[in-house]
Amino acid sequence: MRQRGFAAPAPPPPMDSQRAAAVRAIAERHAGSRGPLLPILHAVVEELGHVAEEDVATIADVLNLSRADVHGVVTFYHDFRRTPPVAHRVELCRAEACQAVGAQAVFDAVTQRYAGDEDVEIGQVFCFGNCALGPSGTIDGRLRGRLTAELVDAELEASR
């Protein structure tokens, strides 16, 4: 792995908490394959919900990278969330094809409606590949087409 950016200070000797042990196990599972960092980060998000600050040192240790390298990758990609997930996540497409059928209005209505709701997180995505049946979005990972704000409500209700 090529070194990028400034050199981070040497990581402290890993003192594996339960979480660190889980992260280490994930990292070791993928360490033998080529270019393992993205698969590891995906697995951490999938199994532990997010990439915590402390996970970076553990992954860096297993892959023999600097913490700065791993941190740089985590922050580059939208998918590697760094805060714990909330109960429900709605992702709405804001790309051109969905805009052509009113996605912006759906986005505005939904973000407004759930503004104060701590259980629901609204995110924007640029295209789900469902561009002939927009507006598109996912509700807790389920892709839906021809979305309206009301349909988002109904889908969320079904999830709760």
Binding site: F76, C127, G129
Partner: protein, 529 residues
Amino acid sequence: MTTVYVPCDSAAVAVGADAVARALEAVDGITVLRNGSRGALWLEPLVEVETDRGRIGYPAVSAPAVAELVAGGMLDGGDVGGCVGVVDELPWLAGQQRVSFARVGVIEPTSIAAYEAHGGYAGLRRALSMDPAAVVEEVVESGVRGRGGAGFPAGIKWRTVAGATADVKFVCCNADEGDSGTFADRMLMEGDPFTLIEGMTIAAHAVGATEGYVYIRSEYPAAVTTMRRAIEIAYAHGWLGERIQGSDTSFDLYIRVGAGAYICGEETSMLESLEGRRGEVRAKPPIPALHGLFGRPTVVNNVLTLGAVPMILAEGAAAYQARGVGRSRGTQVFQLAGNVRQGGIVELDFGVTLGELVEGYGGGTLTGRPVRAVQVGGPLGAYLPPEQFDLPMDYEAFVEAGAMVGHGGIVVFDDTVDMAGMARFAMEFCAAESCGKCTPCRIGSTRGVEVIDRIRAGVRREENLVLLEDLCTTMTKGSLCAMGGLTPMPVQSALAHFPEDFGLPPAVGEAAEEAIPDEASAAREGTRP
């Protein structure tokens, strides 16, 4: 037992296909099979019933309607629920030239028996019996060009990789498909995954590669699942791994999942990402064909490019080369999206006009209002008015018109669209998705949003229009890749064709075309590869 097909494609599932399948499974005397989608997406979920006459289609079926349809004679192909008759005979489908999508929607995606029964693996069988160099030449002769956007001849790229010596070579499939309005890569992977696996294996045999990666965007979880399953099956049947079908060719294939970055569709950014780094674009040269994944010679091709290869090998270069116009050979899998009545997949030989696609196959807008603009080739493609509907779909003709065919996506807008808003969005998208490596793209796009905002607000309009022009020139000329280099394309085409949306006098005829600076259309050809 009556066989009933319910599509498993994400687009069908997004409008309720899974619930329809469950409802049908509960009915006695039915075997439910899950096919891909025919691509007539406005008809989804399109249920098909196998009868003596052929497969009869029932459009937009919902789970609660199943009982009534069955009672009305659906299982005998009865005329209920807006029955569309024999699906293969639908004029919309029968008029198409389905080559890459010949099996999509017809077979169960992960049935390798169905795949072979429908002509699958004929191309690889023939390739394995040929000298690798002859396979490369066959692809060169077919004239097939890269479907990812740049249109670079695939065979020439393969020749370069084949001619390089290294301890290991790679075949990487670009399945990042980030362009709005495109979904053909997804539908091929979900609907006929073995075609891609076969195409990649032919590429590996041709160039001497032993390892391959499919880089699929994370927004496509179903494609990831289907591809993984198909790869397992291909291994189990000796179509991947050591000594494929007893030949001297060995090839291992892996799936890698992107992480929500549009720029990772740019090939060098994709390679960085595959190596586990930030998806920052690499300067070229060196080209990936010589210095690609982990510094080794690498074929990077789009899903549709690799998906066209099995047919080229099965039926010979001449059959493929016979299709199309000019230097655009073969078929293109067009994707009709946005505000369109009949959205979906239309595969035709190159040369069909934009108007035939939008008005003919697409049937105009979904809202029934007049078409005002179409964007062809994704978020970096030009906006075109209906006056240009006689343009043939051909790489060169589009470049000449200051536009690009790109990945074949066509997004339709009706007359309520605010084109200054779309121009602003192009800049906003660039600002959000820039890899950050060069200033014109990273900073220029943010400035672009502000300048367009001022123009829209009527603040020192003339002055800001000059500023926007300068900014576009700087981005076009000073960006390392086509993200920054082509973002001016939608902006300037919107301005040229729809000046009234920016508070200017309307464009008339020729004036509109002259308003697009030449360097912008020239840059398109140069920077997108």
